[in-house]
């Protein structure tokens, strides 16, 4: 492991913020290891994303716009990443800890005979060894795990764990040789539904609602304006998702998403352990609840006891005013 290789995940050229975070972190780690920092961009829109990555401190970007990447479920991506890893040579491979990233990482692990550390929030190089910090059991425990010295190692990185820093002289762009394999799992339909404009895991602020909201409407009328004012996204507790008030892709918690925004506002969420494990690592936690004894009090920086239906609109207004949007 000498070089660092980033899997630049995107959707039809629409980049995920985590890609730039990984590109910036790759440079730092590569400098410590004394190697190169590279990225792999695949599929429709890859060329454009490769251009965007030129603004980040990478040495090389490997590209292929092979349409098979978007026609088959991850199989071509795994092939191209394997081929890029072999082109770059001994390397640490950084993959975003997302739905697709986890699948890709597990498969690449077998292809490359690599060790893997998952859901990492901190990477350091100690006496030549790559050491990773990752929260386990929903953040109840934190592990330090070292990759054994080997040709390849894989780390999946939690989105928003690192900042993205531009810089560098502009990476060289090289085309990866087209894969000639045939693939098994064909994507017939790819539909966007109930998608927030911003991926929940990547939002700097999350406004989440729970049972206390009493129905689906307040997610749009109450929480959405506040989230928009904060430049963030709306999330939900399991109770709200189970009740069918919001789609499951907004659920935060043990059986949903794990988020670590700078600001987390929990509205009408009691704070069951199931929810806590998905958001406890957030920077600042504010709760609005009717019940002063709700468990969320134990892990909030500020708990306001009161009526969310009155507080949230006033708060949204104050924030918009501060931004100069309303008088």
């Amino acid at each position: 492991m000498k070089n660092v290789l980033v899997f630049a995940e995107h959707r039809q050229g629409k980049t995920r913020k985590v890609t730039f975070e990984l590109a910036s972190e790759a440079r730092r780690i590569a400098d410590e290891l004394g190697g190169k920092a590279c990225a792999v961009v695949l599929g429709n829109g890859a060329g454009q994303l490769a251009q965007e990555l030129q603004a980040y401190p990478l040495d090389a970007v490997y590209v292929n716009e092979d349409p098979a990447v978007d026609e088959y479920l991850l199989d071509p991506i795994v092939d191209y990443l394997e081929s890029a890893a072999k082109t770059v040579g001994p390397s640490l491979i950084l993959i975003p800890n997302t739905l697709s990233g986890r699948d890709v990482a597990g498969r690449l692990m077998v292809r490359l005979g690599a060790g893997i550390v998952a859901d990492v929030v901190e990477v350091s190089v100690e006496a030549g060894a790559v050491v990773c910090v990752s929260p386990k059991l929903g953040g109840a425990l934190v592990t330090h795990c070292a990759l054994q010295p080997a040709v390849y190692g894989i780390v999946t990185i939690r989105p928003s764990a690192f900042g993205a820093a531009r810089g560098g002289a502009g990476a060289s762009v090289a085309t990866l040789e087209k894969s000639s394999k045939s693939y098994a799992a064909a994507i017939e339909q790819d539909v966007e539904e109930g998608a927030t404009e911003m991926a929940l895991e990547e939002a700097p602020a999350v406004v989440a609602g729970g049972r206390g909201l009493g129905g689906p409407e307040p997610f749009d009328t109450l929480l959405k304006p506040l989230a928009t004012a904060l430049g963030g996204a709306v999330g939900a507790s399991r109770a709200a998702a189970d009740a069918g008030w919001v789609p499951y892709n907004l659920q935060i918690g043990q059986t949903g998403k794990t988020v670590t925004p700078k600001l987390y506002i929990a509205v009408g969420i009691s704070g069951a352990i199931q929810h806590k494990v998905g958001m406890r690592a957030s920077g600042t936690i504010v709760a609005i609840n009717k019940d002063a004894a709700a468990p969320i009090a134990e892990f909030s920086d500020l708990l306001v006891v009161g009526d969310a239906f009155r507080i949230v609109p006033e708060l949204t207004n104050l924030i918009e005013k501060a931004k100069g949007n309303v008088s």
Partner: protein, 262 residues
């Protein structure tokens, strides 16, 4: 239709977690263990498919553990699985993701199946890398996060959840699937199921039966656990009683200003 489901026993997510200072591993004894929640959904999917396919369809549950933890399998059998295979061997102790996937794959190679259904994540380690690794080891198509599964002639039609919506994916059988939590609530074991589970077969295997080429356990792992500890505690927060909406909003706004968040 032959379906294999992998299941894991994990510490009760509601229990306090303790670390053994010497082994730096989670103390599992004395902590109640439950079926990994994601695996319950995988099993539910398998049971629904079995019911739909009918005939001589079978669901086999597979589990791997350093200790012979038969309760996991009894619970799965009580839910409706037909039989179980348990790979229990103290030599598995300390296996990381690489060694775990390698050992499970070797054991699964001995089983015949049309579908292998795996929980999407494990509640205690949340690596999420095992399903992809198993597919790769076994040379199977890999379709994760399924919320709807249709068996077609020779293949599968799967609706899977993505970060932004869903995809429909066509794949041949045999294949590996993981299930989304929207697949449907796992059923409860009926009393009849619980009684019946006692008579079902749990076939035990050990590492010796698998004749592995590579080591597993700590020796076969490609990562080294250096420490395992609770995170630093959060400092005590404040509580403000809001007389009305404006008071509450001002309290939060002032706090956000103080934290430089607005």
């Amino acid at each position: 239709m032959k379906i294999v489901v992998t299941v894991k026993l994990v510490p009760d997510p509601n229990a306090e977690k303790r670390i053994d200072a010497q082994t730096k591993r989670l103390v599992r004894s004395g902590v109640e263990t439950v079926l990994n929640p994601y695996d319950e959904y995988a099993l539910e999917a398998a049971l629904q498919l079995k019911e739909r396919a009918g005939g001589d369809s079978r669901v086999t549950v597979f589990s791997m553990s350093p200790e012979p933890l038969r309760e996991t399998l009894r619970k799965a059998l009580a839910m409706g699985a037909d039989d179980a295979v348990l790979l229990a061997d103290s030599g598995l102790e300390g296996s990381d993701v690489w060694a775990t996937a390698y050992a499970i794959a070797a054991a699964l190679r001995k089983l015949e199946f049309d579908l292998l259904i795996v929980g999407g994540l494990t509640d205690d380690s949340s690596t999420g890398a095992v399903p992809g690794a198993l597919a790769e080891h076994l040379g199977l198509p890999c379709v994760t996060n399924a919320r709807k599964i249709e068996i077609t002639d020779g293949g599968l039609q799967v609706e899977r959840e993505t970060d932004v919506g869903y995809q429909t994916v066509r794949a041949p059988r045999p294949a590996l699937l993981t299930t989304a939590l929207t697949f449907g609530e796992p059923r409860y074991a009926s009393l009849k199921g619980i009684m019946g589970a006692k008579k079902k077969t749990i076939a035990a295997t050990t590492l010796g039966d698998l004749a592995l080429e590579l080591p597993v356990g700590t020796a076969g792992s490609k990562t080294e656990l250096r420490s395992f500890a609770p995170p630093p505690p959060r400092s005590q927060g404040r509580t403000v009683e809001a007389a009305d909406g404006a008071a509450g909003a001002h309290a939060i706004f002032a706090f956000l200003q103080e934290k430089k968040l607005v």
